[in-house]
Amino acid sequence: MRLPSARNLAVLAVAVAVLAPLGLLVYQSFLDAPFFNPSAKPSFAAYQYVLVDPDFHTALATSIFVSTAMVIIAVPIGSLFAFLLVRSDMPGRRVLEPLVLIPIFLSPVVLAFGYVVAAGPVGFFSLWAKGFLGVVPWNVYSVASLAVIAGLAHVPHIYLYASTALRTLNPDVEEAARTMGAGPLQVALAVSLPLIWPSLVFGGALVFLLGFELFGLPLVLGGPAGVLVLTTYLYKLTNILGTPSYHLMAVVAVVIVAITMPLVILQRRFIGVSARYVTLRGRGQAVRRMPLGSYRWPALLLVVAWLGFTVVVPLAGVALRSVVSNWGEGVNVFEVLTLDHFAELGNFPNLVRGIVNTLLIATIGGAAAVACYAGVALAVHRWQSRVGELHDFLVLIPRAIPGIVVGLAFLWLFLFFRPLSPLRNSPFSLWIAYTVVWLAYGLRLITAALLQIGPELEEAGRVAGASTLRVYFDTTLPLIRFGLLGSWLLIFMMFVREYSTGVYLLAPGAETIGSLIVSLWGTGALDLIAALSVINIALVGAGLAAALRLGVRVDA
């Protein structure tokens, strides 16, 4: 096997998987009817329709507002948490460190549903608060709550980048400030955080980007109030004209990508900067932590309060809602306790299939996806070439496309490309879309593992007489086997969590828990949603527990 050609082949496969759906979207956006319609002609009509639609303008403005608010909320809190958990002697940080990341692994649609049943007009906490105050002092169905909830839910994304950078920071620079009389907060603001600014900018750009890709939260929290963001506007277009308005949807998708793609490119430039910043300080110093003094307990309280609001409230809401037969004002929880909702799931073959499919896609599909990612990562491993750079860019493209849009594009691909059609009504259609959506994430996991291996370990294999491929199988893969296992667990969680990619691919045989919750939300079947959500959370929890137990770095 000639390796250079294998490498080019791998990059070609990635290019097809990434560019085919994107190309189809762009192509469709310039037609005046669905592409499979023989009368479809090239036209700007779709753009003319969408770009002057007042609803579209409102949705765009809301998306920009929510994304900006998310950055404003998540960046300070996330970087503060990183400082507290990584650099300070705050009590309980060992326990809190993995807990802070939980929102990353929770399905946003489950989270949103949790807020509705916990803090909605007749939510558990709302009625409890009403008992004291006479009124519910908040309204979960508003742009403001959407922005706050989304902002707080994205704190972990900032935390991830900030904590990684802070870990490499030499504690001497902080102690120097300390000896000159700076308090812990002053040290954080004047020394630690400014030194990691590239990571904060990088994380902020990511959160801004994710703001445009939000779907579950605005669908559930914005829907009743008529609040639309770009993705929910796209979703609403599905049936607006009676016939599938694919050309209009394609335009919205293209607009979203036109906003997110430059952000991804900008981020990629920043990776270089942050890497430079880190290597300047480099080396794993022994961790010396900044004593917080009297701030220790208030700091802990702050992190716990955030966890309570972002994780405990919605999850408790979902869990409680799943075991009560009905809920409303004046209902006593203990009189309505039941497990019937879980039993009821069995009456719906599509829900049972959804659960089975989710499990299959996450376990076997997750393993297959990791195998694909590993194949691609090895193909470009230590490959200095133009094609390798092209590949680095290609894999970032899916990050710029919201899951729901990728799902839509793959739906069209399955309709458009006859050889794939038989697989349409099977979990395979979901698996391939999921694999593309999580391409950048999965490759980053594998690449991180590969970077741990000194090049000389592989060179020693070559010199001993092994071909490149043989070296991969005998040396490289065995050395990253733990990294592969960890990647599989993380991908398992992401695939269980995934919902938006499956929304358009939802069909008999291609159900998943997440996409079923989205479709059930339209029918108001709260009992079934609660039961499905609990199962979804339990699966993610099992994956997370296994990962932590095995010592997998979940902050990858």
Binding site: G454, E456, L457, E459, A460, G461, R462, V463, A464, G465, A466, S467, R470, D474, T475, P478, L479
Partner: protein, 351 residues
């Protein structure tokens, strides 16, 4: 017949010319040291020979097999070159036992299991690792790891052994011991070896011949004693030993002898360049060639003592000449004030 011929090797990394046409030849059974400061290209040259780096131009022949030739478009991959390589970091595979590390190359060559066992055992035995076969690399000391790396590189009897600073990760004591047994082992196994190091003492003690590299070119090559005692260039002279250096200009030349002088001093030495009287020049002398004298005399300077250091096996005296330090070694503490220092004219090289 030469075991290795590398001709006019050119290697560029971006804008940077790492190797600018280096040629090295290695006779069968010979140990050649590639010596040079960091950035001189010595490791790059070794990696080019190993096939881990692709030269931009040149020709490499190992034994009678051309393995690289830009003109004939030959580039044999590393795994087909049949060489042994000892890495600076040892590069032992952490997921394999010592035995499996050493046995891997034999397995790749399709050697039968029944034959692998005794061959690996013998290789381990000859390096004093007989009891360690079932251990993993992380359970070994640095010195043991170093020997496993060597066993792994020689077990399949490669015609050519390449070593990239193999002793640099050992502590000073162990390193000195290792020089002796490493040379002895290579000779006993009748291997030909190319040995990269930045340590001139190591190069001189292990190698039969030294190729001194500087900025991607061969500065000088030859037997260790020739390179040390008869350096052709200022760079070689400076690199090979501990020296005092004096900047001045040539006052007069007569045959091999010349007189060099600075503002407050004048000395006669051996001229090693074609420079004429009046030209600026550098005088260099090995510290061990100098000694203190009782009184003033020919080629002696009276200099003020600035400090005295005790380094165990000797004393180091520091003098000042035109603001430049002059170091002299001695066996006893001396008191301050002016001392007479003798610069033997045949040992004072003028470049």
């Amino acid at each position: 017949m030469p075991e290795l011929v590398a001709e006019d090797i050119v290697k560029r990394l971006g804008e940077n010319d790492v190797l600018r046409g280096v040629s090295v030849k290695l006779e069968r059974g010979e140990i050649v040291a590639l010596l040079g400061p960091s950035g001189s290209g010595k490791t790059t040259l070794l990696r080019c020979v190993a096939g881990l780096e692709r030269p931009d131009a040149g020709r490499i022949v190992i034994g009678d097999q051309p393995v690289f030739d830009t003109a004939r478009r030959i580039d044999v991959p590393a795994e087909k070159r049949g060489i042994g390589l000892v890495f600076q970091s040892y590069a032992l595979w952490p997921h394999r036992t010592v035995f499996a590390n050493v046995a891997y190359a034999l397995r790749l060559r399709g050697v039968a299991d029944a034959e692998i066992r005794p061959r690996v055992a013998q290789a381990l035995e000859s390096l004093g690792l007989a009891q360690l076969g079932s251990r993993y690399p992380h359970q070994l000391s640095g010195g043991q790891q170093q020997r496993v790396a060597l066993a792994r590189a020689v077990v399949y009897n490669p015609s050519l052994l390449l070593m990239d600073e193999p002793l640099s990760n050992l502590d000073a004591k162990l390193r000195e011991e290792a020089r002796a047994w490493l040379r002895e082992l290579i000779k006993r196994l009748q291997l030909s070896a190319l040995y990269v190091t930045h340590d001139q003492v190591e190069a001189m003690s292990i190698a039969d011949r030294i190729v001194l590299l500087e900025a991607g070119r061969v500065e000088q090559e030859g037997e260790p004693e020739r390179i040390y005692e008869d350096p052709a260039t200022l760079m070689t002279a400076e690199f090979m030993g501990s020296n005092n250096r004096l900047e001045g200009s040539i006052r007069s030349v007569s045959g091999e002898r010349a007189e060099i002088a600075g503002p407050n001093w004048a000395l006669s030495g051996t001229l090693r360049t074609g420079k004429q009287a009046g030209e600026a020049a550098t005088a260099l002398i090995r510290i061990e060639s100098m000694r203190l004298a009782e009184e003033a005399g020919e080629n002696r300077l009276a200099l003020p003592l600035t400090s005295v250091l005790y380094v165990g096996e000797r004393w180091e005296y520091l003098f000042a000449l035109d603001g430049q330090p002059i170091r002299v070694w001695g066996s006893a503490r001396i008191d301050g004030g002016e001392q007479h220092i003798h610069f033997p004219a045949d040992k004072l090289w003028i470049f």
